[in-house]
Symmetry: C2
């Protein structure tokens, strides 16, 4: 259950806490923003955690109040410290206005149904955004599904209620809401109370003790039951903010989109809030497909839907989003990973639980050390974290702006063993983009129980081991007298009990309790217990699951930000410096001069590259090549081919690299192979200087060094590069 993922994020400015129920969005603690304020930040986090625990434990209000006062003092100190630290530490500043304007104008992402007025939290991907997303997903599939031999599935979004009832979403994927009784406008009830008290204290004239009383109520806003909160809203006379109308009583609002499946309307369904459930309910078939072997991983890339109350920040909190989730099933006591050695030297930035509650310092550590020291719970979890980091680097994310934050124990569900979020620094703060959770066997167990299905896997041991098996022997006489005509059925049921069930009976009886079996009450004395040694070579177990869960839209947004830059000579000239492997368009093709000779060559180059699977875009508009390069820069096109007079003579073109703006002279026939290498379409990406070393540099760089034409080993042309027009 990837409940923690897509629509949740936290900003440097928010620091509220709430207990994370399975299936319920959470908020994360204030992260440390710089070395100077790290300890203060940690103190805040720790204190907030204490307050939360006190509320949970039902401590007296005055104690809570005191703890909250301390929290507020710490936060105020922190705010001062952070202001002083501004400019230190890892920061991410972009010209947000220019960024947003470019993303919209070049149609990376646009509001959905814009001409009809739009809908909050729904966005469409335009051509370059769509291609970028596709390339990210392709890389993900290659990096995880192909390389790790995962069993990829595609399950439906429409999900019948029993499935999500079982997973816990129907009951717990909720927030408390109130409605304007006239307009139907909705408000999150706790936020409304908090805002109201802020207003009240600001405008009113209260004695110190009165103000304290209001603050006390405000601080507990998110801890009240619907009934309590309803009474308080009434007491304060709180009305709808925009209209002043009366409000309904608070009620639990489920964040899932409901619908009716089938014509009768009898079957309630939901749009899945995550893709994970589809994999869990298919576990038995997946296990069969994998010839009964565990460990194995299943994966799914697909849509999730959450009816966010307040969608915001573009792609970061939306109502429909793409997720990519992995469920790696393992034997609970065997969480080593066979390929761990491949990643043990990967260095990661870890913001562990202790650091969040203590020093506040994010530490760099190798994956191997993190497991050896017990910072990360097990090899498999750590393996996936390292693989996630490698994936992020492959698609071009800035390595300085990645960190893993461990969940506090108060954030995790009771059954979870360990959880780490990959957070990416954006202009909105650190955004949770990938969750990594060791969820133990919770998910499989609940579905197994609800459907009476076995989710047990088995493992053949290298050699048989001796185990002590408990069996139950019915005392036929007593049973006959007690159950009469049912005695046969009862005896047969008792004899069919396996060792685990027999142990349950024994436990009940030794406590003097009867044991309920198929509706019959088996009282102490009705059975005898015997233990026998037995050699077994097959052990049965319910697998644990380790779940990396990716929010693709958030990753795309972060990648747009990390790739966003401007040319030094012109702060308004935007360049998206996409890694070639994900760039929406790999190559632009231009005619340097106008004239009827060039368009057929441009078309030929475009066709040649397209046939080779390279996304190519011709720009033969009458504008200057510089202007056309600039247009391509805005779409992050990494390479450009220019056709000129020399091309007509010798079938060579200039190939230009976006970031260095260097150019090399290359025969047209060599372009497909070169570009496939440069874009990593066949495997590893080959760097520009390595791939092009055999070709002469031309243009701007010519003056600064010798023409390398003569050194080419692949040279099929021999015209002095100095002749090439730029």
């Amino acid at each position: 259950m990837a409940s923690i993922l897509a629509p949740n994020m936290h900003f440097a400015k928010t620091g509220s806490y709430s207990v994370v129920e399975p299936g319920k969005p959470k908020e994360a603690p204030t992260p440390s923003t710089g070395g100077g304020s790290a300890a203060l930040s940690a103190a805040c986090t720790r204190q907030a955690s204490t307050v939360k625990q006190m509320k949970k434990d039902g401590k007296p209000a005055d104690q809570i109040e005191k703890a909250v006062e301390e929290l507020k003092r710490l936060r105020a100190e922190l705010a001062v410290a952070e202001k002083a630290n501004a400019g230190q530490g890892t920061e991410h500043n972009i010209d947000r206005k220019l960024f947003d304007e470019t993303v919209l104008r070049r149609m990376f992402v646009v509001p959905a149904f814009e001409i009809h007025g739009g809908v909050a939290g729904l966005f469409d991907y335009g051509p370059p955004g769509c291609a970028l997303k596709q390339n990210i997903v392709d890389q993900w599939r290659r990096h995880f599904v192909l390389e790790e031999k995962m069993l990829e599935m595609e399950c439906t979004c429409l999900t019948p209620e029993p499935v999500l009832k079982t997973s816990g979403h129907v009951d717990r994927f909720t927030d408390l809401m109130v409605k304007d009784i006239v307009t139907g406008d909705c408000y999150r009830a706790d936020k409304l109370l908090e805002d109201h008290i802020d207003d009240l204290l600001e405008k009113g004239n209260f004695s110190s003790s009165e103000a304290d009383e209001h603050r006390k109520v405000q601080r507990q806003a998110d801890a009240y039951s619907p009934e309590e909160l309803g009474a308080i809203l009434e007491k304060y006379g709180i009305k709808a903010t925009t209209t002043g109308n009366d409000l309904t009583k608070p009620f639990a609002f489920n964040l899932m989109f409901g619908t009716k499946i089938g014509p009768s309307g009898a079957l309630t369904g939901f749009l899945r809030p995550e893709t994970a459930q589809g994999l869990f309910v298919n576990f038995k078939r997946l296990l069969d497909y994998n010839n009964g072997r565990v460990p194995f991983a299943a994966a799914q890339i697909g849509l999730g839907f959450r009816n966010e109350i307040a969608p915001k920040n573009g792609l970061l909190r939306v109502r429909e989003f793409t997720m990519a989730e992995i469920e790696h099933f393992v034997k609970p006591d065997e969480k080593k990973h066979p390929k761990f050695a491949n990643v043990s030297n990967v260095t990661m930035k870890l913001f562990d639980r202790d650091a969040q509650l203590g020093t506040g310092i994010v530490s760099s550590m190798t994956c191997g050390d993190a497991v050896a020291k017990g910072t990360i719970a097990n090899e498999t979890l750590a393996y996936f974290m390292a693989r996630t980091q490698l994936f992020m680097l492959r698609i071009g994310m800035n390595s300085e702006k990645l960190r893993f934050r461990q969940h506090l124990s108060t954030e995790m569900a009771h059954y979870a063993a360990d959880c780490w979020d990959l957070e990416i620094l954006t202009a909105y703060g650190w955004v949770e983009c990938v969750g990594h959770a060791d969820r133990a066997c919770y998910d499989l167990t609940v579905h197994a129980k609800a459907t009476n299905t076995s989710v047990e896997a088995q493992k053949m041991l290298d050699k048989a081991v001796e185990v002590l098996q408990l069996t139950v022997k019915p005392d036929r006489k007593t049973i006959g007298m007690t159950f009469k005509k049912d005695q046969k059925a009862v005896c047969s049921a008792l004899e069919g009990l396996d060792s685990d069930k027999a142990a349950e009976v024994e436990k009940a009886h030794s406590a003097g309790q009867p044991y309920e079996l198929d509706g019959f009450s088996i009282a102490p004395g009705m059975v005898l217990f015997t233990r026998k040694k037995k050699m077994v070579q097959v052990v049965k177990f319910t697998p644990s699951v380790i779940e990396p869960s990716f929010g693709v839209g958030r990753i795309l947004h972060a990648l747009l930000e990390h790739s966003f830059s401007v040319r030094k000579e012109d702060a308004q000239r935007v360049v998206f410096q996409f890694a070639p492997v994900v760039a929406p368009i790999k190559c632009g093709v231009y005619n340097l001069q106008s004239g009827s000779k060039f368009p057929p060559i441009v078309t030929r180059v475009v066709d040649l590259l397209t046939q080779a699977g390279i996304s190519t875009k011709a720009d033969t508009s009458g504008q200057s090549v510089g202007r056309r390069y600039a247009r391509a820069d805005e779409l992050g096109v990494p390479f450009g081919v220019t056709v000129d007079f020399d091309t007509v003579e010798d079938d060579t073109v200039t190939l230009r690299e976006r970031d260095s703006m260097t150019q090399r002279r290359v025969p047209i026939a060599a372009l497909p192979g070169l570009l496939r290498e440069l874009c990593g379409l066949d495997g590893d990406v080959v760097a520009w200087k390595d791939a092009l070393s055999a070709y002469p540099e031309v243009g701007a760089s010519e003056a600064s060094g010798p023409i390398t034409l003569e050194t080419t080993s692949r040279g099929v042309f021999s015209r002095p590069a100095a002749l090439v027009k730029k």
Copy 2:
């Protein structure tokens, strides 16, 4: 609007007709199934069309009845003729049981939420089905989006009501339903009536005229209004079939899944029933993105949802499905296609309107001829039909089992210019898998009107042309007297009218009618009309759209069927003969013998191929290679690499081709390049015999010819192939 696509299909056995409203599913006429019965089939189709038209025109019931009798006679004759023709013509017979069992067992497609009891019409793709679908979609993207430079978008599934109200889906995407008032079970009202009358006549004892009266009612079942049908159901005392309970009155049941967007519940939304609307509402931005130039095509691959009343036939009628749609925008009077010459020689099987109503014969024709003869309305429509056929062949569809069926004029929406469905022959009959529709400018116009947005494109002419422009000049005196304080607004509105609007005013006035303008009634005599010559070089127009719309699930199902075969030596040994380009797994890797030397080599080969982006699966189970080949055959793995003792010595392996079962000896290092060629990963697919010509054949074929080892030009090894174990 791709209303005709995904959940609609027709079977050889059904032949009912219904008027196709925009946004409403249709049924297609009985297709011809063999040469012998072709004329009869055509006569049936023609007669059915006549009956439909008569009902539509409200002809007297006795005339309709007579026409229907004739239709029934023709159908009976056709049934006899078809029985006689069995075995002739194009047929598609597979062992359905074995097919279904294999598809399920090997997890190509499985019922969704199976352990929770499942939901009709919802299916999940398991690992091989998911990969197959992904490969089909990748090929589609390459064939259409990349090659044709289409603007691909990804729009949301959640769609607010006004968008689908505008498109016509809210009002017309409906069927008439009745509900069991106790259980809520739903029935399609017309089908319930038809079935009831069948039962009545079978069981009861009626005079000839009484029976005729009932038949008359039955035949008009689908033509009644909700009120009429309700009265008839009541008169017949029709109850719910399964319970005998009373039924509700008939009501229109919309096939879209509804939901509420946002917390207030005020905004009704639907899951899109097609992807097309997302492209239409983004038209303005797409036009800008394309620098204002038309023609251009937009494309989208994504989910569609339809709440089918009776899902059936596996993937052929489901409630959630993937579509791939293209909207090609053109100037309405310029439907030539610049690349038409590329396809003019493609021969297609065309079942045109006249043939369906006349000879009943499907004719083969080149694309060029079809346009020249006017069989297909225009070049662009024909171009896409040919491209669709080429796509189907590329992914491995059987060319004998493809045909294009033109829509009858009664099937098409009033605004549509021409429509052709690509139908694929399956075990369920001819299934409509791709629609090709020239929809004129309907879609853009309705959205423009509803949102008051301009959807006009403009074209710069090569040189200015003289046009006659009509302008309206208000007679200020009359207007002043009539409208008093509003005179200024009225004059200004009149002077702002463009030539087209002015023509509307003139038309009204010459008919003696007033013209309504912004709420003012402009009577004849209030204005003067003047015509002026003007030179214009820019023409404005609302683009027409040509829409190819693909049902990916149906295509996948058809491809599974067309690829399904059994080994000659064993009718239970299934082979999916997927084209390498779409095969879910490209290569299996096996160890011929057991022993510790082999697994590391197997792993090395797998890693090498995986790194090169080739989906590979090792099978190192202890079973015989033959058994493991058979297992791979069931998944349609086209190539197999076997590691043996010789591999240890010289790093060569045998590479086996699935269909011919021939094997060649190949160095491991050559595998990635060879397999990428064989699977068409870099462009065109290279055939086995061409790609492997340089490598020696081994195994079964050795006896029949000389070992070709010596002829190799790439030979890096020289061991006699006879040593290779098979």
